[in-house]
Assembly symmetry: C2
Homo-oligomer: 467 residues x 2
């Protein structure tokens, strides 16, 4: 990976900020190497930028004071949630301050009658759902990792449930943000819809920490369905699996999860999670609704799958069986790492119109096969989103080149098919090279907005926007 050199703040400015933050926050301002290193990266990425200091604020006012200080000294700020981002979003490319939001760990309010809640940004998705356990409600967005809600908002994350419930974009009613100059602003409202002014909420959702810090999030909640049935089914080839997905979507089947694993990914998951599945392409499905509704949907889907050459349904109805299945799915990333010890996993995040999915998947599969690398495919195919994982040795230049080339082609293939280089991981550092290919002059508009809302460029510099 090659990154443009970023201007760094002066040593005097950094020293002044470190001194002021230490005075302001005491032992919640940390400069130890281990903490700085831990805050320099997300999942599975090399350290490409260390912050000078890590701070652990506890209130909106503290975040505002930190940002106002950094803004006055032109010192960069990188917001940090659970550290599970995948595209280099957390690297402090020009040093500066990592704001760790983990002490923003309160569920501020739960409104069961309106089916919404307000949480602080550091609350994880599992913590939200643990908190909601007795209400009969849940928050559906599930990127696999136990990410923070603030990080998920900043990345416009989604995951396995998006085909039914939407992504963070569809499930956030409002935010509290802190602007780079230290203003605390509430966007949106608790109303389910609004036509009152520019949609600031959706401007900040997916802004990857480049416009300010998200400190609180108002979330939509949903009733836990009466009946939930998970199932796996297998196919002789990818094409039948994908065609079944397309047919089920067009039939309006209300599945809550439609996940594809190719035969490579199934082999890897068998090894890691002892699934014992035949090593062919599989769909992992979840049906949710009333008991009669899920019965009806299961029968409908069985017929669709049979029509496309698939079968071998295995059902998981009990909570522990469903959890075991989805845990295996969520562990795909770690299963890959364990399967190829010492290799790195270069992820891709193509998302295409569902009609383009078969061709894009099959072209990608052929490209991957030609590489000779280990290249599992797993995907939220109900959204048209899939991840080709590319296992490579970072010390082998040939493998690095192959991996980078293949990842590049996946992104460009998605864009050419009317889709996006990133369905859910964000741009961060690694996808910057694709932003203009995808958005053309729209990138100029994004940069104008960035320059207006963060005139000193302190917020997560070197991310999202091409130079």
């Amino acid at each position: 990976m090659h990154h443009a050199a970023l201007p760094r703040p002066s040593a005097e400015a950094v020293a002044a900020v470190v001194t002021a933050l230490t005075r302001m926050l005491g032992n919640r301002a940390v400069t130890s190497d281990s903490i700085r290193e831990q805050h320099s990266h997300g999942e599975g990425l090399p350290t490409i930028g260390m912050p000078d200091i890590v701070v652990f604020p506890e209130t909106n006012e503290e975040v505002a004071a930190i940002l106002a200080l950094c803004n006055s000294h032109r010192v960069p700020v990188v917001p940090f949630g659970a550290g599970s981002s995948l595209e280099g979003q957390l690297a402090a490319l020009a040093g500066g301050v990592s704001i760790d939001m983990n002490r923003f760990d309160a569920v501020l309010e739960v409104n069961p009658d309106s089916m919404d809640c307000r949480v602080q940004a550091g609350v994880t998705r599992e913590a939200v759902n643990a908190h909601l356990r007795d209400t009969g409600l849940f928050f559906p967005v599930d990127p696999g990792a136990n990410a923070s809600i603030g990080g998920m908002a900043a990345t416009r994350a989604s995951g396995t449930n998006a085909v039914r419930y939407g992504t963070m974009r569809e499930n956030i009613l409002g935010l509290t943000i802190v602007t780079p100059d230290g203003r605390i602003v509430r966007t949106g409202s608790r109303a389910r819809k609004s036509s009152a002014g520019l949609d600031l909420t959706h401007l900040y959702v997916g802004s990857e920490g480049t416009l300010g810090v998200i400190t609180e999030i108002q979330l939509k909640l949903y009733g836990v369905p009466e009946s939930i049935v998970a199932a796996t089914c297998s196919f002789p080839g990818l094409d039948g699996a994908v065609a079944s997905v397309v047919a089920s979507l067009q039939a309006g089947l209300k599945m809550s999860r439609i996940e594809l694993l190719d035969e490579v990914q199934v082999r890897i998951c068998n090894a890691y999670s002892s699934l014992g599945l035949p090593e062919t392409p599989h769909l992992f499905l979840e049906f949710a609704g009333s008991k009669s509704g899920t019965d009806e949907d299961v029968e409908f889907m069985k017929a669709i799958v049979a029509d496309h050459g698939g079968g071998d349904f295995q059902f998981a109805e009990r909570l522990e069986d469903r959890n075991r299945l989805w845990k295996a799915r969520h562990n795909c990333y770690y299963a890959c790492m364990a399967f190829a010890p010492g290799k790195k996993n270069m992820g891709t995040d193509a998302c295409v119109p569902i009609s383009a999915l078969p061709q894009v998947l099959l072209e990608t599969k052929a490209d991957a096969a030609a590489s000779g690398l280990i290249t599992p495919i797993v995907g939220h195919v109900g959204d048209g989103n899939f991840h080709l994982g590319i296992m490579f040795d970072e010390n082998n230049p040939e493998e690095v080149d192959k991996a980078e080339g293949m990842a590049f082609r996946v992104a460009r293939r998605a864009i050419a098919a009317g889709g996006t280089c990133s369905g859910e991981h964000g741009i961060g550092v690694h996808k910057i090279v694709h932003l203009e290919a995808e958005h053309g002059y729209g990138v100029e508009l994004m940069k104008q907005i960035k320059a207006t809302l963060d005139p000193n460029g302190i917020m997560n510099p070197g991310k999202v926007y091409p130079a």
Copy 2:
């Protein structure tokens, strides 16, 4: 209504633009009084600003040329769709150019497999659905009026189906916009989700023509449900009706429409549409899904309604019966005008968290009763959105004062309850006074974005943003 005086362009600038547009567009540039008057207002509002010229472009490039011209001369531009907006969005407060988008009337592509389509901005929602008739798909957002898709996008419109399918916000995948300096930009993609950069699409959705002109819209489509059942049921009072709505939402009933009409509105609709309903508060419902699914939902809803003192279900299953019912609902506005000849109808557009709806509705009802005016209530209560219509004589200062005071209090009551002054009509001219009450410092961020993307302030001046 009082409006701040806006700076007008110089007579020379206007003359230069009129001359150039006439040369560019021939008889698609019109300066007749009748056409200018027609383009000076939306529904039911007085003329508060006449454009100097009305143009009828046919291509993105023509729109770009018009905007570049106006921008260079600092002459205002007001985009015009079907003329059905309600908040004064179409008034040319400082004169200038009305861009009538009705010649953008093509459905550019329909992708049945991906369930999306691309339409030009002047296509109406009825025209979209007529075009889709043979595909088994439909576009659900239905504000009642046969609005243009471009206008619906610009207003972030919704309507009766939003409780099931969401608003324009949730149903637009991407846009083509023309910036004030004449750049043609495509935002979003055909992918169902994306994390690639700032969400320009949702910044322009709901921007009410103040950031540029929307010329094309990529829409999500849905399969026509197998079974659709409409029904009415009655209640002795508003409270039971609203409590039934809250209970049905919490139970996760998948109704596609949940509309409330109070006894005043039922009386007015009986008179206009010969509904023959008892003159008490009613819910108008629509159930959609599989046959067994709607059967189950109907039974569930009957039990909920009975629990809250309601009943008297009347069903409409045949298409013509359903159409008759929803036509009566859509005609509420015209029914009010006919019921009180010579009076104006001041609409309100409160939208609140569903748990706050009973109190806000009942307080509003009491406020309205005290006024002595005719004040029907109709609402998309599944979204927490309701419209108090206030029939007043614009030549009677006391009625005008009463109406304005009541409308003001409805908006502020909604904001105080955690909601919004506008669920679906937009800010336009009439709700500007509420924007800061609702969004606080967020309004400053909106104004900064506006100033960046429209530095000369030519796009729909005097709307949305307080001075």
